[in-house]
């Protein structure tokens, strides 16, 4: 198995996970880890406090960038300028300008870049995508997405709610995943109507609720609610198609707080075969495990081995998502 010399920059929760998964994979030789907080580097081989030194001294083939949003563009662009391939956590920076900076670096590099939009690789999403792709339920007409969490003690002082570091609030932090899924199922959005607000977490500079109505280029509509006041965590995506509907509800996550991950589908039944119009037969798939992070890692590895573009988390997808988000924020 070909092995790629790899460094992990940013050893918070996601960085630690990527480090462990990369080590277990077998195709990545972990040559360094970097974090400004030395305590996070305990047990890591070749620890660095400065990311530039880490990259310059170890010359890895690939890096995982798992830092604050504000730091992502500079680190990603620098690595690409050294022809080092990059896996970067989402969001892809804080703004469209950040994405364009990374795009310019990628255009001038022989290396590859992938962003971590793992939700596309959750089992329920893959099943839904297959059902939509089969055409058995016709075309997608519209969609509704709700993704929300409750926050946590000390939420107000988290870096994620400091716009100068994060670039935005719950929409950029978590809602971006739901936005990516709506994009995945419906295609590019051409216009947005929105409202963002601080409803529950007073004192934070970024939004704790974002509401958006999105329209695609071919006139289809999606709605999105991203929330940090969802006191009972919720992941729910409903796709209405010409001949049925699909509901994704719940998600298997590390916190086990989003409920059982299910995908239910219903076929349009105006003849009321069940005896009740409006209550068609319900078919449910539920899942007992999630491999989305491992599948994502495998995709990154395959990308490196075959020297090809990623299928998910491309710079083009990242740019579109950030444009939509800035549209939602009204900053365009």
């Amino acid at each position: 198995m070909k092995r790629f010399r790899t460094a992990v920059i940013g050893m918070g929760r996601m960085g630690k996970m990527r480090y462990a998964d990369a080590m277990a994979h077998g195709g990545f030789e972990l040559v360094a880890a970097c974090d400004a907080d030395a305590e996070r580097l305990a047990g890591c081989k070749n620890a660095y406090a400065d990311w530039r030194e880490c990259i310059d001294e170890t010359s890895p083939d690939a890096v995982f960038v798992c830092t604050f949003n504000a730091a992502i563009p500079e680190i990603v662009s620098y690595a690409l300028s050294k022809n080092i391939s990059v896996f970067s956590e989402k969001p892809p920076g804080r703004s469209v300008d950040d994405v364009l900076m990374m795009k310019r670096a990628l255009d001038n590099s022989s290396a590859r870049l992938k962003f971590g939009f793992n939700h596309r690789l959750h089992n329920s999403v893959m099943e839904a995508k297959a059902l939509v792709g089969s055409g058995l339920l016709g075309e997608v007409l519209c969609a509704r997405g709700v993704y929300g969490k409750a926050g946590a003690p000390g939420f107000e002082s988290e870096w994620r709610n400091d716009k100068s570091i994060s670039g935005g609030g719950i929409l950029l932090d978590q809602g971006i995943h739901m936005l990516d899924l709506l994009y995945y199922f419906m295609g590019e959005f051409k216009s947005v109507k929105s409202r963002v607000d601080v409803l529950g977490w007073k004192g934070i500079s970024a939004e704790d609720n974002a509401f958006a109505i999105l329209e695609t280029k071919d006139g289809k509509t999606a709605s999105l609610h991203s929330s940090a006041t969802q006191w009972k965590h919720r992941f729910n995506l409903e796709l209405i198609l010409e001949d049925g509907c699909i509901t994704l509800d719940g998600l298997i996550t590390s916190t086990n707080s989003y409920g059982e991950e299910t995908m239910a589908y219903y076929r349009r039944d105006l003849n009321a075969k069940t005896g009740r119009l409006g209550r068609p037969a319900e078919h449910v798939l539920c899942f007992t495990e999630d491999s989305s992070f491992k599948l994502e890692l495998q995709e990154f590895y395959d990308m490196l081995v075959n020297d090809r573009e990623p299928e998910t988390g491309t710079i083009e997808q990242a740019e579109h998502l950030m444009r939509v988000i800035e549209d939602v924020y009204g900053t365009l």
Partner: protein, 324 residues
């Protein structure tokens, strides 16, 4: 692993999947044949996992069913000659091919078959990336109308039935290696299910799919009713694999299990229709069936489906390299 279930309210399955008198006649024919077969020897090992520890679990028509202590598969140990005799019996074959038998199934199972074909198309697309123009071999097909529907569904470019009463074929060339094999309600007839499935590999493309459906030995009705059950017929139902048994058989035969689900809809209804036959020591189940309202009992069926406790299993597996 994927678990799936379909929610049906009890009233949706009130008509049942077969006419009572037809089933009684079929049972009578099989029982008359079975009474003429020699006594069965005690089994040496579980046909699913090979474990030698098994014990008699119940008897039907005086014929013993055993249960594996390891994987919980329930099985009998008939002699091969008797099985061949049953499956080639002219009276039974004629009855099953009769207009009455076939049309009753078509009428009662129409919605189920419609759902089955939709599900097949979906799973073909999920695992093969397409649901049209496939080559399918269908083993043990019993219903002419279902085969016709499969041919007309657009799924197959080539379709052939094998080991069956119903001879159906579409397409111009014989199928040497199929994209998928359908093996519905067939594997339970055999003493050595792993050997049967291993033999199928030659007729399946690399990475091709195997679709199985079967009665399980760990289903609600079998474990509750045991020897009182009326829809389990010796020599017709030889090996009732447990879910663990299914995994063992697939592993031995050289397949990767992609999904194992128990989407059966009849378990609760069957027990409700046969409360007088539920063994006396099943007080809780009797009480639950007598006192539960329609919603509660529908939820019970959903619980059984979701937790692989229904007596009907559907499996999708993929052919691996050389078998273990």
């Amino acid at each position: 692993m994927l678990k799936s279930y379909d929610f049906f309210e009890l009233s949706d399955v009130s008509s049942g999947i077969r006419d009572k008198s037809i089933f009684e006649e079929e049972t009578r024919i099989i029982k008359e044949l079975a009474e003429g077969f020699p006594e069965n020897a005690e089994p040496e090992a579980c046909p699913a996992c090979g474990c030698a520890e098994n014990a008699e679990f119940f008897r039907i028509w005086g014929r013993a069913y055993y249960r594996c202590n390891s994987c919980k598969t329930v099985f009998m140990n008939p002699d091969l000659e008797s099985l061949i005799q049953l499956n080639s019996d002219k009276r039974l074959i004629s009855f099953r091919k009769s207009e009455r038998y076939q049309s009753d199934a078509e009428t009662r199972r129409s919605l189920l078959w419609d759902d089955l074909i939709f599900w097949l198309k979906y799973r073909f697309y999920r695992y093969l990336g397409r649901c049209e123009g496939l080559s399918l071999t269908d083993f043990g097909s019993r219903f002419d109308a279902l085969s016709e529907r499969l041919i007309k569904s657009g799924i197959c470019q080539n379709y052939e039935t094998r080991e069956t009463l119903i001879r159906k074929k579409s397409g111009t060339e014989p199928i040497a290696e199929a994209d998928a094999i359908l093996y519905f309600d067939h594997i339970q007839k055999y003493k050595n299910p792993a050997a049967k499935l291993e033999k199928l590999r030659n007729g399946l493309k690399d990475g091709g799919l195997l679709f199985l459906s079967l009665r399980t030995g760990t289903g609600f009705d079998v474990l509750t009713m045991k020897g009182s059950i009326t829809n389990l017929l010796p020599y017709e139902h030889v090996t009732l694999l447990s879910i663990a048994g299914v995994n063992a058989v697939l592993e031995r035969a050289g397949y990767e299990a992609l999904e194992i689900t128990t989407p059966g809809v009849m378990d609760v209804k069957y027990l409700m229709d046969n409360t007088d036959k539920i063994p006396d020591n099943q007080d809780f189940i009797k009480f639950m069936l007598e006192s539960g309202d329609k919603t509660a009992l529908s939820e019970l069926q959903r619980f059984l489906q979701k937790n692989q406790l229904s007596s009907y299993a559907q499996i999708v597996a993929r052919k691996r390299g050389a078998p273990n």
